[in-house]
């Protein structure tokens, strides 16, 4: 068994609405796995099932080989969860917010005291450990939530949109902390920010209407859709003449002219050599391939813009 998380035809139905529709997913141990999808795609439902907060309507899900439906308590010993909501206890100090889950995990005082010291240090909150979370900035509160999820040294960390509502600087700082956790730990992340998934995840799944529609690394996903590539070619002269020639090529979908710049959309990215044959004799000043972003892939697959 080399997987940390596995779902087999998992479905969740609310009345007539299918939030998850026979979803199969495998997350390798030690990876940072990103789950992308528009609002209502089923991301949070899947996290709630995997973290034992909810039972699936049908199908099975396993965490380190344990069934989430029948072995909930054992599963919860292995996981840490950062939920979308700020669920910090405002009546407890930062340190007490970490002590409570440690006690809920039945950790020995000597063990959790040291672990909490380490986590406060890691999250740069040691000097604020006796303060109440209400006095913290949004970024500090999020760091404390992440620290709380790490108290039991989980094998799998679930992060449900961990940076929503944070400013870009704080978001990047949190990425730094998440990156520092990689090693034996598997991280399962849902996010609205494609940049976040691109920066952090080595595997990305895109789901929509409760179904898996793409799976792979960021590069693999981009390559899969790289059939349509756009090249920008700057010519010194005869732009219109070459544009006409290119339009007649079968592998060219679209040609746009902007002064001396030709933007050519090709059906296949590797049709560029054929294109360059047509451009023989042209005074080519510059050629560049417009890089596809993960956002292009996301929009192409879901048909929806990313909402932050």
């Amino acid at each position: 068994m080399n997987y940390a998380i596995k779902t087999e035809a998992i479905s969740k139905q609310y009345g007539t609405l299918k939030a998850l529709n026979s979803l199969d997913l495998t997350v390798e141990r030690g990876s940072i796995f990103g789950l992308l999808g528009p609002n209502g795609a089923g991301k949070t439902t899947l996290i709630r099932i995997l973290t034992t907060l909810m039972n699936p309507t049908s199908g099975k899900a396993f965490i380190e080989g344990l069934d989430v439906t029948t072995q909930g308590r054992e599963v919860r010993k292995l996981i840490g969860v950062v939920s979308q909501e700020n669920s910090l206890d405002r009546y407890l100090t930062a340190r007490e917010n970490l002590e409570l889950p440690a006690r809920l995990h039945s950790m020995e005082k000597r063990v959790y005291k040291q672990r909490i010291d380490e986590l406060l240090e890691l999250m740069e909150l040691s000097d604020r450990q006796k303060d109440f979370p209400d006095t913290f900035s949004g970024g500090m509160q999020r760091r404390l939530v992440v620290a709380r999820a790490l108290v039991n040294n989980p094998k799998i960390l679930f992060l449900d949109e961990p940076t929503t509502g944070l400013d870009p600087q704080t978001r990047r700082a949190l990425w730094k902390y998440v990156r520092s956790l990689t090693g034996d730990m598997t991280i399962f992340l849902t996010t609205h920010y494609l940049e976040e998934a691109e920066q952090l995840c080595n595997q990305i799944a895109i789901i929509d209407h409760g179904r898996l529609i793409a799976l792979g690394s960021s590069e693999e996903l981009k390559t899969e859709l790289a059939g349509e590539a756009v090249y920008d070619i700057e010519l010194g002269r005869d732009v219109n003449v070459f544009a006409e020639k290119l339009e007649q090529m079968e592998s060219v979908c679209q040609v746009k002219i902007n002064d001396n710049l030709l933007s050519i959309k090709l059906k296949e990215w590797n049709a560029i050599s054929e294109t360059l044959d047509i451009l023989k004799g042209a005074e080519i000043k510059k050629i560049s391939l417009r890089e596809r972003s993960l956002e292009d892939v996301y929009i192409a697959l879901t048909g929806k813009e990313v909402r932050g």
């Binding site: 939920s83 669920s87 206890d89 809920l104």
Partner: protein, 252 residues
């Protein structure tokens, strides 16, 4: 059962109570003390003796009981609602190895502890400012009523805090259901004031068993067994109902 988890949640609630104990004490004592001064002292001369005792002594046990059960109810209903709907801490407990049943049992114990502590505060205040002296045995008998009474109202609070999503609905339930149950169960007037045909029905109410039974125990040292039995059976039924309601709601 993970007793450590249940104790950890109960300990958290007690830690929070300890931090706010002085400010809470003022609020907790103010209401029963106002009732005591207005009715027990202010109207004493006009009312005279009730069931053979002064009116101030007649209402004193009920005021202590009312404080305890209302504290138990309020702690449970608002704590459950707040932790479930506002602070989402219940959810953060649920992703640890504790089970939903262990969480609700911790919350029931917290409400119960609040009730007993606050009831005790009012009792001490009333004992200090009044000339009443109660026999130690009477106090022990009284506690036998206070324990299931606090448990009953804690469980009602847990059910309310689990089922009700809007704070205004919680307020309405208290105004329409909880307060009338307390006030109509012999807190301020003897049961003999009711029409004869209503008394058998009223006597079966757990709140009557609580207020009438606790008064008989504290003032006269009478231990009315059917009342105690009624209270403990009701407490067990409501405890089961609270655990099942919480479990069902949270796993929906």
């Amino acid at each position: 059962m993970n007793v450590k988890g249940t104790v950890a949640i109960w300990y958290r609630d007690m830690l929070v109570l300890k931090r706010s104990i002085w400010s809470e004490m003022i609020a907790v004592i103010a209401t029963p003390l106002t009732f005591y001064l207005a009715f027990g002292v202010g109207m004493r001369r006009y009312i005279g003796l009730v069931d053979g005792i002064s009116y101030s002594l007649f209402i004193a046990p009920g005021l202590i009981t009312m404080t305890a059960v209302l504290a138990a109810y309020n702690e449970s209903v608002w704590s459950l609602w707040f932790h479930r709907r506002v602070q989402f801490t219940i959810e953060s407990y649920r992703v640890t190895p504790v089970t939903v049943s262990e969480i609700v049992i911790a919350k029931i114990f917290s409400g119960f502890s609040h009730g007993l502590i606050k009831g005790l505060m009012v009792a001490i205040t009333i004992f200090i400012i009044t000339p009443f002296k109660f026999e130690p045995l009477n106090l022990l008998l009284y506690i036998l009523f206070l324990i299931p009474g606090s448990a009953i109202f804690t469980c009602i609070g847990v059910i309310g805090g689990t089922m009700l999503d809007k704070p205004e609905t919680i307020g309405r339930v208290e105004a329409v259901f909880i307060m009338p149950l307390i006030f109509m169960s012999g807190l301020f007037f003897p049961l003999s004031s009711y029409p004869a045909n209503v008394i058998p029905i009223i006597s079966w109410l757990p709140t009557t068993a609580l207020f009438e039974g606790s008064r008989q125990a504290l003032v006269h040292g009478n231990f009315i067994f059917p009342f105690v039995l009624n209270l403990y059976i009701t407490a067990i039924i409501l405890f089961t109902a609270a655990v099942l309601t919480f479990r069902r709601r949270l796993t929906e």
